[in-house]
């Protein structure tokens, strides 16, 4: 087998065995396993509870998307059309929520708005016993807020990147033709931005649709989405057939959204002259503009407050601030509920994340090379390789449970099952970061090197590697962070001895007691710090060369 064959077969084999096979296993389960029939689907669609979950999932995602757009578009405008000191820092901060593990986001909201959260303790500190209390824990409101918080940077990224490159001459032309500010925005700017707005909206919708950690922790069982229902059916009720049917329903939905997404993108692909960002001169700011900018920056800080609250709660104890909770993490406290010491949990997360990163890099890089190879099948391959991004984490974990519990592949009890699940979730990110760079590589570069006498190996080392190195670093960081924060699949697959940080946080939350909550907060803070550190260090690269996600 030649090297180039291996390049093609390797990633395809990986997808087939570890992604398509579990899907088939779910499908088989959902048809009643053995006896061919629609049994589980009939149960599902005849049960008002599950119909209610499906309907709830659909409309909560719609409202979350709406809220996210309302929150994201002004910020997108700010980044696209204004220059101000501290802009790049602010940009990095804006991205923070999206790269945060869901569990950290959920914990942030607990820390900010929970019954013992920053807002409520602050209020009682101010007003004493008669203090008004914000009761939005376990309500829809907090779910919507968390979804908007989690996803608004998608809107900001996609729309502002497009907006910034949109020639201001369109707007100036409209002005010269007599259109006022409002007219110009409604008739020229907005229509031109629509493709970007639609793209981001559908992505937000998909993420809100398959939301798991946020809903599980903040919503409570009365607000279960399909994703949460699949989890509960699997773990608590052991109805794998109905879980399978529900997973299939969910996959069908997300697949339809994805089709709509590509349709819209293809149809609205109006060739628009995009100019380099540097070419756009920033207008002289009026007082109104300045106020607007200040307002949005203030709004951004409010938006980031859950993460700040998380840190504050993690270091606050009864009578002030201390690192007690963190110290507790590193002391092997036998009083802990855990079978494992927190230190061991952290070590688990780090080594699994490292291994997942390596696998994701190998699979993702090979897949990216396969996709950019000239040929008609490139689009089909692209969508095949991106499929794991569409299938939710819980469904994936569920698929692993039903597929790899018996020979030929029996991975029960092995940490390998976690690592493989994590790398499946992570490698599409590697592909997405590498593709633009590979596609942008000058076509005659490799040929020139070859004509100058370089062997394929030397071409790769001396020409390609330096060019893709930065993208590889970005992809690796993504893969590492995704694995560190992976929650849905891990919760289903993890064995006690292989508990990872997100799962540990969830288990701690389920335990009563101040110390447990404190440790959960401290662990969340630690996880946030690791992920944030990784991304802050690559943020510089991301904005220069590799566009928005």
């Amino acid at each position: 087998m030649t090297a180039s064959r291996l390049l093609v077969v390797g990633p395809i084999l990986f997808i087939a065995v570890f992604f398509l096979y579990p899907l088939v296993a779910i499908l088989a389960k959902s048809f009643g396993g053995g006896a061919v029939g629609l049994g589980p689907f009939q149960v599902l669609l005849g049960d008002s509870y599950y119909l209610g979950r499906i309907w709830f999932t659909i409309w909560q995602a719609a409202f979350s998307t709406f809220l996210t757009l309302v929150l994201g578009l002004p910020v997108a405008y700010l980044f696209a059309r204004h220059e101000f000191p501290g802009k790049s820092l602010l940009k990095a901060l804006t991205t923070l929520p999206f790269i945060m593990p869901t569990i950290v986001v959920a914990m942030g909201f607990v820390a900010l708005l929970g019954s013992g959260g920053l807002v409520n303790t602050g209020l009682s500190g101010l007003f004493g016993d008669n203090a008004p209390e914000v009761r939005i824990a376990n309500t829809l409101t907090i779910i919507f807020m968390a979804h908007a918080f989690y996803n608004y940077s998608i809107v900001v990224r996609i729309v502002s990147a497009y907006w910034a490159n949109l020639s201001p001459q369109f707007e100036e032309s409209a002005a010269m033709l007599g259109a006022g500010r409002v007219q110009t925005f409604l008739r020229v700017t907005l229509p031109l931005l629509l493709p970007a707005i639609w793209s981001s909206a559908i992505l937000v919708y998909i993420f809100s649709f398959t939301s798991f950690g946020v809903v599980l922790i903040l919503g409570g069982s009365q607000f279960a989405t399909m994703e949460v229902a699949i989890y509960e059916l699997t773990v608590k009720l052991f109805r794998l057939d109905i879980a399978g049917a529900l997973a299939i329903v969910q996959i069908v939905f997300t697949y339809i959204f994805l089709l709509v997404y590509t349709r819209i993108q293809a149809r609205s692909a109006v060739p628009v002259t995009l100019v380099h960002r540097e070419a756009i001169s920033s207008r002289k700011r009026s007082v109104r503009d300045t106020l607007f900018v200040i307002g949005i920056i203030a709004g951004l800080l409010v938006v980031l407050s859950p993460l700040l609250a998380l840190v504050e709660r993690a270091i606050s104890v009864n009578d002030g601030y201390s690192l007690t909770h963190f110290v507790a993490l590193f002391s092997n406290d036998s009083g802990s509920y855990f079978y494992l010491s927190p230190l061991h949990v952290i070590w688990n997360s780090i080594r699994f994340a490292f291994l997942s990163m390596v696998i994701a890099m190998l699979v993702g890089t090979a897949a990216a090379y396969v996709i950019v190879r000239p040929g008609k099948r490139s689009n089909i391959l692209d969508s095949l390789f991106m499929l794991p991004l569409v299938v939710s984490a819980v469904t994936l974990g569920f698929g692993f449970l039903v597929a790899f519990n018996r020979p030929p592949i029996d991975l029960r009890g092995s940490w390998l099952i976690l690592v493989i699940a994590h790398s499946l979730v992570a490698y599409p990110f590697v592909i997405r970061t590498l593709l633009p760079v590979l596609r942008g590589m000058p076509p005659h570069l490799k040929e020139s090197a070859a004509l100058l006498g370089a062997s394929p190996m030397r071409i790769f080392i001396h020409i390609e590697l330096p060019l893709i190195a930065r993208a590889l670093v970005v992809g690796a960081t993504f893969a590492f962070a995704v694995s560190m924060g992976e929650f849905g699949a891990s919760l289903l697959l993890v064995r006690p001895e292989f508990t990872t940080i997100p799962v540990a946080i969830f288990r701690l939350l389920g335990q009563p007691g101040e110390a447990n909550l404190g440790q959960a907060l401290a662990m969340s803070t630690l996880l946030m710090a690791v992920v944030a550190l990784g991304f802050v260090s690559i943020e510089r690269f991301r904005y220069r060369d590799i566009g928005g996600f």
């Binding site: 032309s173 010269m176 033709l177 229509p191 629509l194 002259t273 002289k284």
Partner: protein, 367 residues
Amino acid sequence: MATSPILQLDKVSKSYGDTFAIRNVSLNVDQGQLVCLLGPSGCGKTTLLRIIAGLETLDSGTISFGGEDLHGIAPHSRGFGLMFQDLALFPHMDVFGNVGFGLRMQGMSGDKVRARVDEMLELVDLGNYRNRKVHELSGGERQRVALARSLAPAPKLLMLDEPLGSLDRVLRESLQVQVRSILKEIGVTAIYVTHDKDEAFALADTIVFVNGGEIVQSGPPEALFRAPATEMVARSLGLRNIIEGTIVGAFDAIEIASSVGTVFTAGSLPGGISVGDGVLVIINERGISVAPVRHEWAEAEAGVKLSGIVSDRKFRGGESEIHMMVGQSELVSIIPTVDAQTGVAPGDEVSVLVPAEAVTLLPRAQA
């Protein structure tokens, strides 16, 4: 009796940080006039246009149109048109939507918009292009749609920022003719920015030469070409044979000792220049004659006879260039290729006839 100019710029300045983009520019444009702002790229001509349009604010000075100060009037309320270099046709609208945009902004009714759009499309020879998508148009068609869009709301002043810049030479030249005739047919006052002297010559009633954010010279194209104010203008207008010299006398004619030898020019000394001053001398490359060294010049062929050595001969189609070293400088002479057949080859010693009409004086640039 001359009417007062419709557009008046008075001491307009604009700077970005420490650098002046526009410095102390005063300019008058008459009703119906076609003015070309000519100058190298980055000279400030586009900024000047944007200031007039109201897209940039000015630091000092005033701009008035029809006697009304434009200060504080938003771009969309000025009633001006601007055609951008990259045209900025709205990609989400068809040709009709683009051309009709300004009319709808005026609140014109549907029927009237249709009639006016059709009229405009006829004007630019795109009668049946109404429903075309913008991206289906060729380069030249886009240019014409953009022109129709700018003209449709009947702007009081039309500004064009290198609108033909992205086209190939042949198309550009044919559109230049078309643009001028359309603008003249409508009688709109227009300011046209270009860095191409030939385009400015083809279009302008008046050329305003801009450099370093300042107006260096303005006037009818011919006047500029005949008497450029500075070496920079002269070179930009395509003049060569610019050499150094010193005025040695001014009696019937002005006598100049130059690096090619002594030459004469008619007339009196320009203001500010007196005998003994250093000047620049432009010797018109079509005004001088070249002949083999032993050639007997006829009595009628008055002028200074210099001798030189041919260094190169360049074939340029109908004309040929003869480059030669005369004294310490190189001179170029352009002669019909037919004449060049019999003429001279590199290395030949030649006699160069420089009549007084071929010599123009330029004040030497201040240090």
